[in-house]
Structure formats: C-alpha cells, structure tokens
C-alpha cells in the first residue's frame, strides 16, 4: 500500500491549487450568480495544460491517470464546482474515445481536446430515459458511409458549448440495448442544436442543455466500436467517470468545511469563539472524519480505474455514493455552523450546499449506484 501521490502528481496539484486560489476562487460567486459559463476559466485551464490531464502523452495529453484526474477535480471543486466540471466533463466526453476508439480515432480526435482547443461533452440521457438509459430513442440510420441522427437529448452538461459530442443512439431499435451505438459528433461537420438551457439549483455556471438532432450526418469513421456496442461503452465510461464525481463531491465538502472551520474560530458569541463549544467541535470532528473516509474511497476507485481492476464497477459506485451523500450532509452542516450568515449569498457555503445536491443525482442517481452495488454484492 502507498497512500502518497507521486512527485509528478504533487507538482500538478500544486499548480492547480495556485491557479484556483488566484483565478478561480475570486470568480466563483459571480459565476454562480450570473449563471454564465466561465469561458475565461476554460481558457486558463487550457493554457495551463489542465485539460490535458485525462489524456496520455501519445494523444497530446499529460497523464491519463484517473488518480490525477480525481485529484484535479477535487482541487478545483474546493473553490468552484462549476469550474471543476470543465475538467470532469472534458474527461467524461473523452472517455468513450479513449475506451472504445480505434487508434486512428484517438490520434485524430484526442489532441485538440487535450490542448483545450476543443471542448467535449457526453450525450446519453433523454427525457424518457434517465436512470433507464437503455430505453433511449435517438435514432441513427446508416446511409452508405454515414449515419443520420434524429432525436433529443436531455440534461447534457456543456452540450451547448461543446465542439465534440459523444452521442448514444439506436442503430437497431429491435435489439433494445444491444442496438445502441456510440458516435462522435464534431460540431463543424455534424452541427446539432441546443434548444434549451436549464435553470438550476446549483452548478449554475455550467450550461445544461437540451439537444436536438434533425438529420444530423455523422461519418462512419466517427462510430466508436461496433454497431450495438454503445451501451457497453456507456457503462464502461460511467465506471471511469464516477470516481470523478466522487472527487467533485469531496472537493465541494472540503471547500465548505475549510470555510466553516475558520469561521468557527473567528466567530464570537457568549464572549468566546464558537469553536470553543463542544457541540460545534463534535460537528467539525464528524465532518472531517467523513471527508477523510470519502477521500480514501474515491482514490481507491481511481486506482482501480488505472489498474483496470475487475471489481471497479462496485468500488466506483461506492465511491460516488458515499462521497456525494457525505458532501450533502457536510455542506448542510457547514451552513448550520455559519447560522444566518450561512444562508445568505455573501458567504460561499450556501452555494456549496446547492452545488453538492447534483452529485447525488448525476452520473447515475445514488439509487442507481445502490442497484449497481447490490447486483455485485448479491451476485
């Protein structure tokens, strides 16, 4: 066992930490209030190589390690959950290519994503198929050397701003989930429309779009894997992306906790700092312990991604489930510690509490995580 990050990972973490402190943290409240995509932060991450973390060097990236991705997402999420999605969704939208793409596809599609010249997104959910992803209806029909896509996707993070979109569509509706295939859409060749942007409780700067495909043409060369392999690819991707959502939840909780801890030391009531009261101390101790327990589980899942372990599915789901439930409880308690000040937007913890909620819902609701874990426990 070795709980330490490598020297290279520590160097990457320190770079991210500094950028986040200087450039991201001061913008976080404004990003949330205006609900505007922080293009400046995306550019900052692109310039500093952060968007190259999900990719191995041979495809223009700097790492490709899930541990490094999770570490990066965690660091950014401490200050701004919206900004952490810039890295998390770049990874999510690229995993299908890295997991199922041919060498030619990886060499062609990954370098502009790794450099940050292009932004990726991932389109699986539909209005009628959320947790039941296999019920998706978007249709892809083959005509010669291309496919024609028709359908609507729902809740697509970065769907409106992405340049590269991985779409799951039915190529053989008779075959149910075995008829689902995965495609990479490049906006300039296969333009899609974002018809609606959602107004949300949290991660408000991250655009969540409804996407419509009307006879969108996709070249055969952009199909990932075989026809019918799409559902398997989607599940393999979720195994890899769930630790990242665990890391996001972890970061949000840590950001809120650090704020509440300092606040408790400085806030005076009854003639002393509220941190002197045992009731507050025990809340702090419980939160810190739950955060540590989550961190270990998240990074254990990440190491399992990197090692391609057979029990990845179970541990990745556990990490996402435990860390996101923890983040919701911890951020709620942090608001409690700040009292009235915690409830107002002059202080960051109410934003963090709102941001935490989505981590229990997306990338598979926590009920779906429990189904996944139960399946492996009771097999």
């Amino acid at each position: 066992m070795d709980f330490e990050l490598s020297e290279e990972q520590v160097a990457i973490r320190d770079t991210i930490r500094e950028l986040v402190q200087d450039k991201v943290a001061p913008r976080a409240a404004e990003i949330d209030e205006k609900a505007e995509y922080p293009k400046d932060i995306e550019e900052l991450f692109a310039h500093n190589g952060i968007l190259g973390i999900p990719f191995p060097e041979e495809y223009g990236g700097i790492s490709g390690s899930s541990v490094t991705i999770c570490m990066g997402i965690e660091e950014i999420a401490k200050a701004c959950a919206t900004s952490s999605l810039i890295l998390a969704v770049q990874a999510l939208g690229s995993y299908p290519i890295l997991v199922a793409g041919s060498e030619e596809q990886k060499k062609r599609l990954c370098p502009p994503l790794a450099s940050g010249e292009k932004v990726a997104a991932y389109a699986l959910s539909e209005t009628g198929s959320g947790s039941d992803a296999a019920a998706l209806k978007t249709r892809a029909k083959r005509h010669g050397d291309e496919y024609v896509l028709n359908g609507t996707k729902q809740f697509i993070t970065h769907g409106s701003i992405a340049d590269t979109l991985v779409v799951f569509a039915q190529t053989d509706p008779e075959a149910d989930h075995r008829g689902i295939s995965a495609f990479v859409l490049e906006r300039e060749k296969s333009p899609w429309q974002a018809t609606k942007l959602e107004h949300k409780l949290g991660i408000r700067g991250s655009p969540t779009a409804q996407i419509v495909f009307e006879d969108v043409k996709v070249p055969l060369a952009n199909r990932l894997g075989e026809e019918g392999a799409g559902f398997k690819i989607a599940l393999a991707v979720l195994d890899r992306s769930r630790p990242g959502i665990g890391a996001q939840a972890l970061g949000i909780a840590e950001g809120a906790f650090d704020y509440a801890l300092n606040y408790a030391k400085e806030r005076n009531q009854f003639g002393q700092a509220i941190a002197n009261f045992q009731g507050i101390q025990f809340m702090l101790a419980d939160m810190a312990t739950q955060i540590e327990a989550s961190r270990n589980l998240v990074f254990r899942a990440a190491t399992k991604v990197d090692a391609k372990s057979p029990d990845l599915t179970k541990i990745a789901a556990m990490a996402k489930l435990f860390a996101s439930d923890m983040a919701m409880r911890v951020t709620t308690d942090c608001v409690q510690i700040l009292g009235g000040y915690g409830y107002i937007s002059d202080y960051p913890v109410e934003r963090m509490m709102r941001d935490a909620k989505i981590t229990q819902i997306y990338e598979g609701t926590n009920q779906i995580q429990r189904v996944v874990i139960a399946r492996s426990l009771l097999r």
Binding site: M1, D2, F3, E4, L5, S6, Q9, V67, D258, L261, K265, A275, Q278, Q281, F282, L284, A285, D286, A288, T289, Q290, E292, A293, S294, N296, L297, F299, R300, T303, A307, I315, M318, L321, F322, Q367, Q369, R370, V371, I373, A374, L377, L378
Partner: protein
C-alpha cells in the same frame, strides 16, 4: 498511490483467516454464551505466532508492521470479537509500551515471553474516577529503596486475571496532572496484586474485564518504564496505536455482520429496500476499512498518526455498531434469538464505541487537532 494490500500482507491475512475461521469462529457462540475465556483460540493464536506480531524477530516476535497487526485483529474479530480484543490488548497496549519505551534489558526480559504467548499482556490506566480524564488518576507509586510501592484500584482492565503482566500507571510525582504519572511493568504474581470484582458485560463476554487491586505491591526500579513522570506519554502513545487495533476489531465485526446479512438475503426473494440497506452497510465498511489501513500505514511509516487513528477508531466503531443493528434488522426474528451471531455482533460492537477512548474523546482529539493545525 497504491491502495491495494501488498502480496505479503494478503498472504499474512490469509494465514490468520485460516486460524480464525478454522479454530476461533467455531468457539465464538459458546464463548459468548458461557462467558468463558477462549483458551483454545488463544493457544492456537500463540502457536501460529500471532501473540508477537509487532515484536521484532530479535525478541522472538514476527516483526510485522501496524498494517499486518490491523489485518490480524480484523480477521480474528470477524470470527470472534472476544478473542480479537484479548489479542489486541495483549499486542498493542499490553506489549507495545515495552517495545517502544523499554530499555534493552527490559525488552530482553519481557518481550520474548509476551511474543510466545507465555505471558499475556494487559494495560491498567483507567480508575473509577479517571476514565476519559485519565490524567486525573490517583494510584500511587512511592519510591522505597530499590523498589516502588504501588497502591490503588484500576477498573475495566481487559485480560484481568489472565494476564501475566500489567502495564500500570501510577503517580510518582507531586504534579497532580499528567506530569506526575509514571509507567510500570508489574508481574501478575507480585504479592499484594489481586483481582477485584469481575464484571459481567453485555458483550465481549469471553474477554475478562474487571478490577485490579494494588495493595503495597513492590515493583523493582528496574520495572519503571521510561523515566519518572513520562508515564502519560507512554499511555497516550500506546492508545494511539491501540486505536488502530480497535479499528481492525470493528472492521471484523462489521464485515461479519455484512456477510451474514448477505447470506440471509440470498435465501429470500429480493426486495429493493433490503438490497439498499445491505449496500449502505457494505459501502460504509469499505470507507471505514481504508481509514483504518491509512492510519496503520502512517504508523508503520513512522509518521504522525494521532488524528488519523482517532478518525479511524471513531468511524470504524460507529460503523460496526450501525451495521450490526442494520444486519439484525435484515435478519429479522432469526437475528434476535439469543445465540444468533446477529445479536452477538450488536452486543459486542457497543463496547468498541466506548473503550480505548470513548467516541466522544475521539471527537475531542480530532477537533483539538483541527483547530490547532487546520
């Protein structure tokens, strides 16, 4: 970063598991029901070298690290929580103070006998009026010539009556708090040392707990552990490491409860509510396990581990209790019948939230550290 056990740790775990499941587990229900010391289990553990896991080979032990020790206690507790705490207390707080603070002569004299299991170790810190507030203890040690003369009453002493030696904490100096406390190696056959009341407990019934009475017990100066006045440091360091062992014990109980609940569910028609309860139990145990291993890994690496050990003890033991309750709920009527492993786990788990520093003390330790260092 590598969060999997190394092959040598996996192999060691497998060897402990063989004894735990082969010898210890079949005794567990009887040990609990009859309130009896699991003699055969302790003998088997001694024969397998499990009484000296942390003691270096030079002194007759296995020379393994804190992580191996955690795995050992985890595997034993999965079979029988009473056996696990007997060996845990012997190994950590009952032997480790000599290993960490003893002089060469003390180590040569006592460690081989502890490692072989000839002597069972015990730790005598708590007193009727000094529980969580250990620094307020009253037992006295008065220097008379080449001896110290010890007087006082210790309570809640694990391995009472079975131990061959007790690490006893008593007051030597005028200071009324921590600085006046010293630690002594006190052989069980010292005249004036006797077992007082034996406690009947709700759980861990195979592990004897009771009062240790010291009446003018003469202990040679050679048995003073560390310098006079350093006893409290010895106690706190021993407890830090002891908390890792208790975390392992909690993990073992929790894992047994999860596995047995899973076996019960596998026989019934699947219900999503039951499945989800099992998932939450298993997920918590996974999170707790890594917290314990992290603390053990830090300890093995010689790094500071007080806060991680307290976090591990708190989270692992709270998890064991919650999981034991939920497992019994899933088992239903079968679980509540006396002698079922479900009700035993529940009774056993409760002690873990209380001893080796109650979970309130752990929260206090963690909070103090957080407020000091962030």
């Amino acid at each position: 970063m590598d969060l999997e056990l190394a092959p040598q740790h996996e192999a060691f775990r497998a060897s402990v598991r063989e004894i735990a499941q082969g010898v210890v587990e079949p005794l567990a229900a009887d040990v609990d029901r009859r309130h009896r010391f699991p003699e055969e289990a302790v003998v088997a553990a001694a024969e397998a070298g499990l009484m000296g896991v942390l003691i270096p080979r030079d002194y007759g032990g296995a020379g393994l690290d804190a992580l191996a020790f955690t795995l050992c206690i985890e595997e034993l507790a999965q079979a029988c929580a009473s056996t696990a705490v007997i060996i845990d207390v012997h190994t950590s707080v009952g032997s480790e103070p000599i290993l960490l603070f003893g002089g060469e002569e003390q180590k040569r004299k006592w460690l081989p006998r502890l490692a072989s299991g000839e002597l069972l170790g015990a730790f005598a810190l708590t007193e009727p009026a000094a529980g969580s507030d250990a620094a307020s203890l009253k037992a006295s040690a008065r220097r008379v010539g080449g001896d110290y003369v010890l007087n006082g009453t210790k309570v809640f002493i694990t391995n009472i009556g079975r131990a061959g030696l007790y690490i006893v904490f008593a007051r030597t100096g005028p200071d009324e708090r921590a600085a006046g406390i010293s630690a002594f190696i006190v052989p069980a056959d010292s005249p004036g040392l006797r077992v007082g009341q034996l406690f009947r407990k709700m759980g861990l019934k195979g592990s004897p707990t009771g009062e240790l009475v010291l009446e003018d017990v003469k202990v040679p100066v050679a048995n003073l552990l560390a310098a006079e006045g350093h006893g409290f440091t010895v106690a706190m360091r021993a407890l830090d490491a002891g908390r890792i062992g208790i975390s392992g014990q909690a993990l073992g109980i929790a894992q047994a409860a999860v596995d047995q609940a899973r076996a019960v569910l596998a026989e019934k028609p699947r219900q999503q509510g039951d499945d989800f309860a099992l998932v939450d139990m298993a997920t918590r145990v996974e999170s707790a396990r890594l917290l314990a291993y992290h603390a053990a890994w830090l300890c093995s690496a010689g790094r500071p581990f007080t806060r991680p050990a307290s976090m591990a003890k708190l989270h692992c033991t709270d998890t064991a209790m919650d999981v034991a309750i939920d497992a019994l709920q899933l088992a239903g009527e079968e679980g509540i019948i006396a002698g079922s492993p479900f009700e035993r786990h529940l009774r056993d788990a409760k002690a873990l939230q209380i001893y080796e520093g109650s979970n309130q003390v752990q929260r206090h330790v963690i909070a103090r550290d957080l407020l000091k260092y962030g």
